[in-house]
């Protein structure tokens, strides 16, 4: 048991760490490309400086994303050998194609970062576009694997052995589209708002700085559009979960009893012993409508499933509430930007707006962590829904706590260093009131 716990904690910690860098690795290249495209079109050198500045951040973050991803691909076997023995052939196609996406991403990232003055500007821009596209593609492919763990398809189970293996069918599992869409939007929303928040903070000190204004504009455009779409794609994801993983839905909603006209609970604390969710704001029939588009639909509660097949309710419900709350707040800030841009054709730079953007800045990453907690913990006790239990999958190697402790210390240290290096980058960012010598740095 304790070995299992160590393995889970290590997996959760490694993925929770990697996903931040992965999300940024998907979205930041897009933002760099937009900035560089603006430079190519307008000739305004500030855009070029912006693209270069973001590229510096991307280089630091990408390095950590790449090494933590490398660790993950080994950890699948180091921690979950039985799972991989079963799943490897079925899901390998997704990982294999992902390998090529990584390759193109890494190759053209090298070109993008190091060849500013070596190749013609359109070729340089194209390299960035390839990085952005292959980053998104690699995210989609790896999420297909997670979708397969949630809704396994593409094989027939005979006496615990997978036969009739059909990797393309496994790739196109029922949860694939909803998860891939939701995760890709999440990456743009979270990264866009994260970056927007940084520039908003800078603008509060230095209101007219053209560099940060342009940066805020691009970051908000990318993050804002995604943030407005995200709740819709989340709704779609929830409907897929309702259909394919009813125990997870019940846990997400803190729904203990099976009932018609099930209410939507906002907030609240599920009590697994008393089998009720108290303190929640309940919207009558809300859940039935959201999950099945019908106020009279029956929602299966946790009581519909054997006790040893129920996920931990409290964690899943709270994580889900956190994600939705973050999503709503992010959408509100984005709508604020959209509406005032509509009315004035100008990006708002009032103090209140900048403060709101700065406050919303970390919400996307929090939502991503919470969302993965919903997905992963909500699937428990299964590592492959309905096929293999997490307890069966874990390695027999003793002493996993050492490994967990070592990696946690390593990643904690890396996290601190990354934050320090990024802060250093922000501090050296161009200021509007800087002396002429300084300002020239914008154009270099």
């Amino acid at each position: 048991m304790t070995n299992l716990l160590a393995a889970r904690l290590q997996m959760a910690m490694s993925l929770g760490f990697h996903i931040i860098f992965a999300a940024i690795g998907i979205a930041l290249p897009l933002m760099m490309c937009v900035a560089e495209a603006c430079w190519l079109r307008t000739g305004d050198p500030i855009y070029r400086t912006l693209a270069k500045r973001w590229a510096k951040g991307a280089a630091i973050l990408f390095a950590v994303g790449a090494v933590s991803g490398t660790v993950l691909s080994f950890e699948l076997g180091l921690l979950w050998p039985t799972f991989m023995k079963f799943a490897g052939p079925i899901i390998g196609l997704g990982f294999g194609l992902e390998g090529f996406a990584f390759f193109t991403e890494a190759i053209f990232l090298g070109v993008y970062l190091y060849a500013w003055d070596r190749i013609p500007p359109p070729a340089h821009w194209a390299a960035g576009a390839i990085v952005a596209a292959s980053g998104a593609l690699s995210g989609v492919l790896v999420v297909s694997v997670n979708g397969w763990m949630n809704t396994p398809t593409g094989f027939t189970l005979i006496d615990g052995v997978a036969t009739d293996i059909n990797p393309p069918a496994a790739l196109m599992n029922p949860a694939f589209v909803s998860e891939a869409l939701h995760m890709t939007l999440a990456a743009y929303a979270a990264t866009g708002l994260l970056v927007a928040g940084v520039h908003a903070l800078m603008l509060r000190k230095d209101r007219e700085n053209p560099f940060h204004r342009r940066a805020l504009g691009i970051a908000l455009a990318v993050g804002g559009v995604a943030s407005v779409l995200q709740p819709m794609s989340g709704h779609y994801a929830a409907q897929v979960v309702a259909e394919t993983q009813p125990p997870k839905l019940a846990a997400m909603e803190g729904q203990f009893q099976t009932e018609r006209r099930a209410p939507l609970r906002i907030g609240g604390l599920p009590d697994a012993k008393a089998r009720t969710t108290s303190y929640a704001l309940e919207i009558p029939a809300g859940l039935s409508i959201l999950a099945y588009n019908d106020p009279d639909a029956e929602v299966r509660g946790l009581d519909a499933f054997p006790a040893d097949e129920q996920p931990p309710v409290a964690v899943v419900h709270l994580a889900f509430q956190v994600m939705v709350a973050c999503g709503m707040a992010m959408m509100a800030v984005s709508l604020w930007a959209v509406v005032s841009w509509w009315r004035t054709k100008r990006l708002p730079t009032g103090r209140a707006f900048l403060a709101a953007v700065a406050l919303a800045s970390p919400l996307g990453m929090i939502a991503i962590e919470a969302g993965w907690t919903v997905t992963e913990v909500g699937r428990q006790p299964w590592i492959i829904q309905g096929v293999m239990r997490t307890t069966e999958a874990v390695t027999t190697v003793p002493g996993l706590w050492w490994s967990f402790a070592a990696y946690t210390a390593l990643y904690a240290g890396l996290g601190v260093v990354v934050v320090m290096l990024l802060l250093h980058q922000f501090r050296s960012s161009p200021r509007a009131d800087a002396p002429a010598g300084e300002a020239r740095r914008w154009t270099s």
């Binding site: 270069k52 390095a63 790449a66 660790v71 390759f103 190697v397 002493g399 990696y407």
Partner: protein, 354 residues
């Protein structure tokens, strides 16, 4: 050439894995080796040597290490049981190796972006020390697999030992061999990265020294293999191609040394790369058809043929994108090492990150 006609889809995937491993040794391996020379940089030109190393590997760094991921993905997809056995019985060296990968991978980038000279120097250490340790562990894993001990432990079931599968003379010797190979190819490549005759001679000397030590370590590995990895040892002797392969490897080694001595650096690079590829090819061929001896070969515990076929298709289609992209990358950043006459104009725009 009967292996070509008799090649099964599983054999095809195994061959692709070998190709990826060789590419990793020749490209990613050289990055490790460069880290070794960074650590060992001494004398009046120490700073210049470090500078040269950083400029040489920066642009290709991220791409070079993806080869390792390709090997891992192909292994767990196509030979899941072999993957499971390796990941279980060699848990400790692999975990330590990954820590090395993380440290050097992040430190390499961090040092370009940190503020002070002192901080940069510290990151340099965090980059170069794991560059020495990690290849030893990587080699030890490969050497341990060749001994058959991990395979036997897994077959027997029971508790998994943490150290006895790999903390032995033969795997460690293979680890040192890997380290030496990487340092050697790195030194050879670096001779082509500079116009400064003194700097080039520094790396030429390092290349010659590491060529000599490589011979010595290879001899030690060979001696140890007789008892520790009999299967591989005999595999090389048994096969009809064993002797020609060894002569070819030896010939390449001699060619590389002669070319270095005569300062034909492009030729030396070609010969050294061929030598390393032949070493790995020979080792793999000697172990053939076993992935994890003495039980797991290309058929036992492998994925169904459909998976192998799909992987081969995916590899084929992927290569259509990958190969031109790689060629482009190396043309942009390594073109100057192939065009002796035109190096000056390239050198004026040394690659530095944005």
């Amino acid at each position: 050439m009967d292996f070509l006609t008799s090649m099964t889809p599983a054999g095809g995937v195994a061959a692709a894995m070998l190709v990826a491993l060789i590419a990793y040794a020749l490209l990613g391996g050289a990055d490790y080796g460069a880290g070794v020379w960074d650590l060992l940089a001494r004398g009046p030109r120490a700073e210049a040597q470090r500078e040269l190393i950083a400029h040489a590997i920066g642009p290709v760094w991220e791409a070079n290490h993806v080869w390792l991921i390709v090997v891992v993905v192909l292994l767990f997809t196509s030979f899941p049981e072999a993957f499971t056995v390796v990941m279980t019985t060699l848990h400790v060296p692999l975990s330590l190796m990954l820590i090395g990968v993380v440290l050097r991978g992040s430190a390499f980038t961090f040092r370009s972006y940190d503020a002070t000279e002192l901080a940069r120097r510290r990151w340099n250490r965090v980059f170069s020390i794991p560059s020495v340790v990690t290849p030893v562990l990587l080699g030890a894993v490969i050497g341990a697999i060749a001994t058959g001990e991990p395979g036997r432990v897994a077959e027997a079931g029971g508790p998994v030992p943490l150290f006895s599968t790999w903390l032995r003379p033969f795997p460690i010797a293979v680890g040192l061999f890997a380290l030496n190979i990487f340092a050697y190819v790195a030194a050879v490549y670096l001779t082509l990265e500079t116009d400064d005759p003194a700097l080039r001679d520094d790396f030429r000397r390092k290349a010659l020294i590491s060529a000599a030590t490589l011979g010595a370590v290879a001899w030690a590995v060979h001696l140890l293999a007789k008892d520790s990895a009999p299967l591989v040892y005999e595999g090389l002797d048994r096969a009809s191609w064993g002797a020609p392969l060894r002569y070819a490897t030896g010939a390449m080694a001699v060619a590389a040394i002669v070319a270095l001595a005569l300062r034909w650096f492009a030729m030396a690079r070609l010969a050294a790369a061929a030598q390393v590829a032949l070493i790995l090819w020979g080792a793999a061929a000697a172990q053939y058809p076993y992935l994890v001896p003495p039980h797991l070969d290309l058929t036992r515990g492998a994925a169904p043929a459909i998976v192998h076929k799909l992987m081969l298709i995916a590899l084929g289609l992927g290569s259509l994108i990958l190969v031109p992209s790689l060629v482009y990358l190396f043309r942009v950043f390594k073109g100057h090492t192939f065009r002796a006459g035109r190096r000056d104009e390239d050198e004026s725009v040394r690659p530095t990150p944005a």
